[in-house]
Amino acid sequence: MRNLKNNNPLKFAVFLAAIFLLQSCSDFLEQEPGTQTSINEQLGTKQGVLEAMNGMYRAIEANVRTEAFSTYGDLQGGNLKFAPAISTTTTIGQVTTPGNVVNIYSFDDLADNSNLAAFYSTNYNIINQANLILEFTDALKDASDTEKSQIKAEALTARAYVHFLLSEIYSQNYGFTANASHLGIIYNSKSITNGLQYPARETVANTYTFIINDIKAALNLYANTILLNGPAHSYFNKNNTKALLARVYLAKKDWKNAYDTADDIIKNSGVVLMSSGDYLAQWQKPDAPVSEVLLEFSIPRNDAGSASVSLATFFGYTSDSQYGKYTASQDLVNLYESSDIRKQLFKNHQLPTLVNLQKEILNYYFTDKFQGNPGYMAFRLSEQYLIRAEAAIELNNSAQAIEDINTIRTRANAAVLQGNEDLKEAVFLERRKELCFEGHLFFDIARNKKDVSRTDGCIALSCSLTYPSPKFILPIPRSNINLNTNLKQNESY
């Protein structure tokens, strides 16, 4: 009986422990919210990960489509000028700087109120989405290894791409210092589930290393499966990831790798250049991208399938009472020879404009590249020819450079290079002409350490910018600087 007395507490304790362990092991302590989904649940299934990946693409598309970013390279570089406000019966259209770009246009962005502040934080939000997908995909039970590889490849590419966009805007070009030791960007490869970070900026050299590592890792993972519905060219794949890599190498001035990567795409991607005869028609299609597309982000459409918003908002022309604000500057239009079929992509519309308080009818050239329902053209094959050309020049392979430039010029029905021209200038100009409105010019200027000189239609407080200048890059938003003592601001902001 004494035994009984002594044993019982023991038994009871064992019983308690058993109940406790039972409950700890079970999912009694797992409670899921209602209309929202916890990260663990969302990313616990293939379906959920694909939804998250869809959300990531959607966010990238929305971010690159923003007015301030989609016009940035061309506006800063001098390809664009503003159309007047739409005239009404009582008012005459006035030319003003759109509010969304008012600071950057004058090379006077404000850390407190940056025109690209939202672009900055949204990119890191996208990076976080990619990181979450990367961290959870390996544990998926209902996805095959192939599918997991493909998911991770796309997420890695997205992470690299978005970091590269940030790097272009917030860091001086790779050649700014001899060893690229100047300030790069924060490279975030972990989600917040690993703890709150107060990160510091990498050097540009490190930034590029991280970007290239991510792209290479992705290239090793691509499995040639398509996981999400929609056009194949709207998702990251092996070809457009190589195109990204080629562009990164070009920006890094790693000419050998730039040459090889572009060469690989041109020879092996299976994508071919648009033909000369088809060139205008390809651009003028209202809904589909040009045939040489490598990556174009799809625009959002409503339930009925009609486009809700696209780049046509900024570049489109429907009638004199409905048009976007961004047109080609005469600086750009004048670059084309008269035989160049690309010149026909500029449609002249005469719009009433208020000049010195008087109404004048002025010419405005709207591009045909973004009429209808255009998506954001991230990569296409022509750029790769020009990358190969630029790299070839630096590798002293002038013949290849001339050939590639002439491939583009011949297609455009422009005079071919003879070989005695300044090839560096020639490829720079060819890029400006071929890739105008696609967001390259300002970065090309910086890479080539040229000066900005905007003449036609420039209403900025300062229309030119001499290299080098701290104003080639933008300020990190002040709130980020305030919250993170490890984060250094760019010079002059």
Partner: protein, 1118 residues
């Protein structure tokens, strides 16, 4: 047999020490045993195993470990024992199935008288009330510790010994009963009738919901307990919290007006950081409330649109305590310090309130009935501008804000809207109960029905509360069931008191129809029309129930398990009729081609919550020897709460003047679009909020010689609401108490009844932080990239998010003297850390805000309580209780930033070094006599408000007040004459504590196109040179947090006066009949007087005025 016991107290030890054997199934009468050199204890057990006798003895007196032999074959018990104890100095008595061992007296001296030396006595103990046998009562010989315990039938036997048996006095006691004495004389048979103790100095106090209890004077922690007689149940309130305002030291029950609002009880200061936004979603600041072991769920908003309390059609929260009828409450216990709440671990930071309901008492079926009826009227109403004043003010405003303005003449109408909306209310309450118990079965049923017709026109509350308590005890098992179903129906179409309508508008048109006010939206419209035409009804069905099983293994160990459930089903149904402007939304819609105004609005909010807890525990209690006693509990608890919320609303009906179903809000579909617009007027939303917890807890109490007491708690909580990385909370606490008067050196000072010092320290947590705050969330939506479904991250995850921590230090002294005065003084210091705040984080993390444990603060203060029984003997009795508490709060750390400010009309800030209840704003110095603008002072400079607003931001605000009183408390007095007439007066007070009154009705002249203002607004600047309190009506810059809107809320109030008379009755079926008169909310005294003809804190303190209720009633038992 010579028990040489000196101390009466020790008897308690001995009784507890009677080792019992767990035995009794053997039916053998005779004994066969052969044992050699075995301890007597072992032999006794062997004997017990062969018989159904229990052998009991005092292990301190009988050396049961001494070795003995026994060799018997089929002999009777008596023979066996005789052989066993031969020469052993042990004698025995056999009574029924018990054998009592005592140490045998030494051989009587030959010189002693031939008088009787021993006498067998027997007797029975009954309850005085209903003559029921009382098992378990103790019979002791006065002056010694010796005695016996009554058996199942209330009977006892004992052998009296000594030289003077006739003069021995028997003292009979039973917990909760008054002890009774009888001289032995020459009696052999005794009968005792015990009365219930009416005034216990040292009652047993429940110290947790896990079955632990302690004598009041032996409590180590800080525990305040009120019993049924302390609760002024006749105060005209709907729930017990309002009745107890000011009655418990350290417990600030926030004044609310109106009926049924959510409970606001702060134990020892604010338990968490005040959120800076309007958002109420956050950490609970309310104590854990446990009713008969059921952990009550708290009604709160959740972090999800439609259910976060941020819209005009959000659900109105109700008071969970209204589920319990105050008449059914037996004890109301507040646990405050770490020693007391430590056993609740991560739920204990805000203190714990334990409520037990009344149970049946031994005796025949008893019936009780009471009825109370009273009238209520609104007190301290805000005085508004009359028609003439309003017109003058309005003209002044228009003149200052427009050009070429010609004044509008007064139209002669003077409507006092406030008066129209407030009339006399009726308070009516019925209570019926029946209870009784025998030794096995107890029962009590209580039914209360309350009908409050509020002074606010149109608003009524009906409340039906039942309480059923059943208990059954058989041998070592006991079962208790407690059920508290409730139904509350609140009808409140009158929500029109936040502002008054203009006095120059008559309520009715000449044809008797209601006038239009020009104000639309839920609080717009003609209130009289809205009250008549709108609907706002809330039905709440609640059920609180618990079942508790106990098994008493032996004297030392008891197991029990309890399952409790709190179920609630609530629906609030509102309809805003299109007949008045409250239901007239802007816009229109078409149905079948006909265009209609978007009039009529239905909104239905449903809340369904189930919270259950299951606990199992082992209670132990062991007296190691005379000096050392330990007791305690070890157990586990599982709890889960599931809440589901539904919202449905419809607006725009073809016939908006009748109450329409939500589904009637239909409109035409636009055939050119893909989406179906026909349901565009309807909104539906659902959400859930679940949480679960697994806990283990333990408490141990040790005392040495009843002088030194030690208490230790430890608890482990694992909760779904915490982040995965920190989901285990381990909390512990310890306390020490020293009862100085039990020391030898104070034994002789008979005037000291209790002198106790105590100290405790420990950690607790606040895990009630909302269900999913640690989880990172994804938002799901349709039509994403390429038209597919997509998910994007929402709230940031914080795997490290953990419970808020609250380390509590408490020390105090209890001093009771002359059986008359009880004094208790305590000092506490609560160190709160890891308070949850939302902080901006570097967006490179992918998120811009994160909920972090990133703030610390402390609450500290003193609590003093005294109870004085001025007169307790004789015809006139008078007792008083009084308490006063202080709270001082300071924010000590805000990780990541030094301060954060709210918007101006909330005037809140979080700033290191300041109290979280500080009112932040701008020092107002007057109205500029030259310009009529507000002048404010900043850094020694004087600015007008417009200039100030341009130069300074929120970060430049200064403290202009503090809502936390410097001290608060309450008092009560109870007088009785001849035990027939009783007068009791209770009150509450606060010293300091400011209130920021909204400037809407004082100086916001810009809103006067369709709203009236208080009379204070009439003191505005008119001409250069005027000295006024309000600026010239116009579009001046208005700062809502000027110091002139801060009022000192120091007050004393008499909350309740109750006079009752016990009608002497004979020869009726009634046992007692009491008639009473009661006044609730009797009167207020404010330190800050209202200026003549103006409103001050007295009026502004409650926009919805409080009600004073005068009532009469009867209370009878039969």
């Amino acid at each position: 047999m010579t028990f040489t016991i000196h101390d009466l107290r020790k008897i308690l030890f001995f009784l507890a020490l009677l080792l019992s054997s767990f035995k009794g199934f053997s039916q053998n009468k005779n004994i066969t045993l052969q044992l050699k050199n075995k301890p007597i204890s072992l032999i006794i057990k062997a004997i017990e195993e062969q018989t159904d006798f229990r052998i009991i003895y005092n292990a301190r007196k009988i050396d049961a470990e001494q070795l003995a032999d026994i060799n018997v074959q089929n002999v009777t018990l008596e023979t066996a024992l005789k052989q066993l104890f031969a020469g052993k100095n042990i004698s025995f008595y056999i009574q029924k199935k018990q054998v009592l061992l005592t140490n045998a007296a030494p051989a009587p001296s030959a010189a002693s008288s031939s008088d009787e030396k021993e006498r067998f006595i027997s007797g029975t103990v009954y309850t005085a009330k209903d003559k029921q046998a009382l098992p378990g009562a103790t019979i002791r010989i006065k002056g010694t510790g010796m005695g016996a315990i009554t058996d199942f039938n209330g009977k006892f036997v004992y052998q009296l010994k000594g030289n003077d048996i006739n003069n021995l006095v028997l003292e009979v006691g039973f917990l909760g009963m008054e002890p009774q004495l009888q001289k032995a004389d020459d009696k052999k048979q005794f009968v005792f009738y015990l009365k219930e103790a009416t005034d216990e100095l040292n009652p047993v106090v429940i110290t947790s919901s896990y079955g632990t209890t302690k004598l009041k004077e032996e409590i180590v922690g800080s525990i305040s307990t009120l019993t049924a007689k302390d609760i002024p149940v006749q105060q005209a309130s709907e729930s017990v919290d309002k009745m107890l305002e000011g009655q418990v030291a350290g417990v600030l029950i926030e004044n609310t007006s109106g009926v049924g609002g959510p409970v606001k009880i702060n134990i020892r200061g604010q338990g968490s950081l005040k959120p800076l936004g309007n958002s109420i979603v956050g950490t609970s600041t309310q104590p854990l409330i446990i009713v008969d072991g059921v952990i009550m769920s708290e009604e709160s908003y959740i972090s999800s649109s439609f259910f976060n309390g941020q819209t005009a059609l959000s659900e109105n929260l109700m008071n969970p305590l209204a589920q319990i009828a105050p008449e059914n409450i037996e004890t109301f216990t507040v646990l405050k310090d770490a020693a007391a709440v430590g056993i609740y671990g991560a739920d204990g930071a805000n203190g714990v309130i334990l409520i037990t309901t009344k149970k049946g008492k031994i005796g025949k079926a008893k019936f009780g009935f009471s009825n109370q009826l009273g009238v209520s009227s609104a007190v301290n109403q805000i005085k508004y501008l009359n028609g003439e004043q309003y017109t003058e003010m309005r003209n002044a405003y228009l003149k200052n804000t427009s050009t070429n303005f010609s004044p509008v003449p007064y139209n002669g109408v003077n409507t006092d809207w406030f008066d129209l909306l407030n009339n006399s209310g009726i308070y009516n309450k019925y209570n019926f109960n029946v209870s009784g118990a025998n030794s096995k079965f107890s029962y009590r049923t209580n039914i209360s029905y309350l009908n409050i017709d509020e002074p606010q026109l149109g608003n009524t509350t009906k409340q039906l509360n039942a309480g059923i308590n059943l208990g059954y005890r058989q041998n070592k098992f006991d079962v208790n069931i407690s059920l508290n179903p409730s139904y509350i129906r609140s009808i409140a179409p009158n929500i029109y008191y936040s502002h008054a309508h203009i006095p120059t508008l008559a309520p009715y048109n000449a044809d008797g129809s209601y006038t239009l006010t020009g104000l639309i939206g839920t609080t717009g419209g003609n209130p009289l029309a809205a009250i008549a035409q709108n609907k706002n009804e809330t039905d709440t069905y609640g059920f609180l129930g618990s079942i508790n099983l106990g098994y008493e293994l032996n004297k030392s160990i008891k197991f029990s398990t309890l399952f409790g459930i709190d179920y609630k089903d609530k629906e609030q149904d509102r309809y805003f009729s299109g007949e008045n402007e409250s239901g007239r939304l802007n816009g229109n819609f078409s149905l079948e081609g006909i265009a209609y105004n978007t009039w009529g609005r239905r909104a239905i909010n449903q809340r369904n919550s189930t919270k259950w807890n299951w606990q199992g525990q082992m209670l132990f209690n062991k007296e190691i020897n005379k000096n050392h006693t330990i007791d305690g509990v070890l157990g586990f608890e599982l709890a889960e709460e599931k809440g589901s919320f539904h919202y449905a609303s419809g607006s725009g009906f073809v016939n908006p003047n009748i109450i329409n179903a939500v589904s009637n809000a239909r409109r035409d579909d636009d055939p050119t679009t893909k989406t179906d617009e026909s349901l565009g007027g309807q909104t539906y939303n659902s959400e859930i909020s679940n949480g679960s917890r697994v806990s283990m807890f333990s408490q141990i109490n040790y005392n040495y010689k009843k002088r030194y007491f030690f208490l230790g708690n430890i608890r482990r909580d694992q909760s779904s609401v915490f982040g995965n990385d920190s989901d285990v909370a381990l909390n512990s606490g310890a306390g020490l108490a020293w009862i100085i008067n039990n020391e030898d050196f104070l034994q002789s000072s008979s005037w000291i009844d209790l002198l106790k010092l105590k100290v405790s320290y420990g950690s607790t947590g606040n895990s009630r932080i909302g269900s999913y705050r640690s989880k990172g969330l994804y938002n799901n939506a349709q039509n994403g990239y390429n038209g597919e479904n997509y998910a994007t991250p929402g709230a940031a995850p914080n795997g490290n998010l953990s419970w808020e921590k609250n380390k509590k230090f408490n020390t105090g002294v209890d001093f009771n003297v002359f059986n008359t005065v009880e004094l208790s003084l305590e000092y506490y210091y609560d160190d709160l850390s890891d308070l949850i705040v939302a902080r901006d984080i570097p967006s490179e993390n992918g998120y811009s805000t994160l909920e972090l444990n990133a703030a610390s603060m402390y609450n500290k203060g003193f609590e003093f309580t005294t109870r004085i029984k001025w007169f307790q003997k004789g015809k006139f009795k008078w007792s008083t209780s009084f308490n006063i508490s202080t709270v001082e709060n300071k924010v000590t750390d805000l990780i990541g930033l030094g301060s954060d400010y709210s918007q101006a009309n909330l005037a809140l800030a979080q700033k290191i070094g300041y109290s979280t209840s500080t009112i932040w704003g701008v020092n107002w110095i007057g109205i500029d006599p030259a310009t009529g603008r507000d002048l404010v002072r900043k850094n020694g400079q004087t600015y007008d408000s417009a200039t100030y607003n341009r130069l300074f931001t929120n970060a430049d605000w200064e403290p202009i007040g503090n809502t936390q009183p410097k001290a608060f408390g309450g008092f009560s007095n109870r007088f009785s004459l001849n035990n027939n007439i009783t007068l009791s007066i209770t009150g509450a007070y606060q010293w300091g504590g400011d209130k920021l009154v909204s400037n809407d009705i004082i100086a916001k002249y810009s809103t006067t196109s369709n709203r009236n203002m208080s009379v204070n607004a009439f003191d505005y600047w008119r001409n250069p040179g005027d000295i006024a309190t309000q600026p010239a009506p116009g579009n001046n810059t208005l700062l809502p947090n000027l110091s002139k809107y801060v009022y000192d809320a120091t007050y004393i109030k008499i909350s309740n006066i109750n006079l009752s008379y016990n009608v002497p009755i004979t020869n009726t079926f009634l046992d007692t009949l009491t008639v009473f008169a009661d006044v609730s909310n009797v009167l207020y005294w404010y330190k800050e007087k209202s200026p003549a003809g103006m409103n001050g804190i007295r009026e502004f303190n409650y926009t919805y005025p409080q009600a004073r209720t005068i009532s009469m009633g009867i209370n009878t038992k039969f």
